[in-house]
Homo-oligomer: 247 residues x 2
């Protein structure tokens, strides 16, 4: 795979890649050809090179233990953050998700999927974050990588600076914050557009990020757990905003 392309596996993700016209080459085993006829035909219609492979080749090409026989080589999907105000359309009650040095590809992909589900406008990854084209990230995103704009190399200062004047607020998830997601003041903030920031799994959000945001909030922990899984925490935060919208 050349540097301008990446590999997408699994029927759900491949179907999304085909739908959004990102597939250059599509490889399918005979059984996958039969099971996903429409996806294969559509890819061919859109100009992808389609080739049949046998199970041994599918196993060799796949990163997974149980490959499903459908593998696409796609144009890179994420683009470098342009740093411009207009890069993300500012809709009412919107969400932008920023991953600040998030390192686990499974977490990144799962958060991209949750952001898509919650109706976010875009996902931005800062320098030092995992590559969203990483195979595990792609699989965890379950097609969502193709559903919303994903930008790499974002710097939070330019993101916040671009949107704050338009009424957006920047909120970081920070397990050490004294301000809770359940606080009335935080809930009021969630009624408007929010740039959410989720930090590194081990180190959390950086001091520079905490200095730049409008609020840092902790998810209340009622039991004995020290913390939540990062992707679980992100899902809770993003949907707290969705729930705040529907009183």
């Amino acid at each position: 795979v050349d540097r301008g392309a990446f590999v997408v596996e699994g029927p759900q993700s491949v179907a999304a890649a085909v739908e959004f016209g990102r597939v250059r080459e599509l490889y399918a085993t005979p059984s996958a050809f039969l099971a996903h006829r429409e996806v294969v035909d559509r890819a061919a219609d859109l100009g992808a090179r389609v080739a049949e492979i046998n199970d041994v080749v599918a196993q060799a090409m796949s990163e997974t233990e149980h490959p499903q026989g459908l593998i696409a080589v796609c144009d890179l999907q994420a683009t470098a953050w342009p740093g411009a105000r207009g890069a993300v359309a500012a809709e009412e009650r919107a969400q932008i998700v920023v991953l600040d040095r998030v390192s686990d590809p499974g977490n990144a992909g799962t958060i991209i999927r949750s952001a898509d589900a919650a109706g976010a406008q875009a996902v931005l990854l800062t320098a030092g974050s995992v590559d969203p084209h990483n195979g595990k990230c792609v699989r965890a995103s379950a097609g969502s990588l193709f559903h919303l704009p994903v930008f790499t190399g974002a710097d939070l200062g330019s993101v916040v600076g671009s949107y704050r004047s338009e009424g957006w607020r920047c909120v970081a998830a920070d397990g050490y914050s004294e301000s809770l997601l359940t606080d009335p003041a935080v809930r009021r903030m969630l009624a408007g557009p929010v740039i959410w920031v989720f930090g590194n799994e081990a180190h959390g959000v950086s001091p520079e990020v905490l200095a730049a945001v409008d609020a840092a909030v902790a998810i209340p922990i009622l039991g004995r757990a020290e913390s939540l899984n990062l992707a679980a925490a992100a899902a809770i935060c993003l949907y707290a905003q969705v729930l705040a919208d529907t009183p």
Copy 2:
């Protein structure tokens, strides 16, 4: 490791196992001995057999790519569901989490961790679910496996039958339901004690489960995602109840 024991890795999980007196044997590399002196001493005080191992042995014993040099052999933590009403104390505004044929150990462990964080009283796994002592599940639970009662082999009928008379309601997460987590009627239900049911990753909750529950609810999908990751969906549901508690 014999059938009455399981392996726990990583400082956070091992510390939880030691704290709750579950460790039979503790293996540590010289550097882990130094870094986790208190945990090792406490394990020895509680009667665990402690042994030093070198990095090669640690690598061989570990299931992870980057072992952290601290490995415990513990008494089995989860127990068979006794089927009795008194098995879980019924506190006000409580949660019980049921995993119905959940197969991915990472999902199961992450949900156990989220259930712990949300203040759930117990996690029950039905027959056909992954073994909660699976290494990936243990690591994903980040110690929470030791923090709350985890039962295996539960049958939903007996669970629901035991608690419904005491005012509990049973709610299944079901992506196909027309009833949404944001519906006022659902939110009112979340103000009381809830038995949450989360189903298999590929097949969802079974028809028999849907027939037994008080409500099946879908998390609203605002974007183009087909569904959410199961552990993300569980985190959203459990914390929707926490958020419903704090108006």
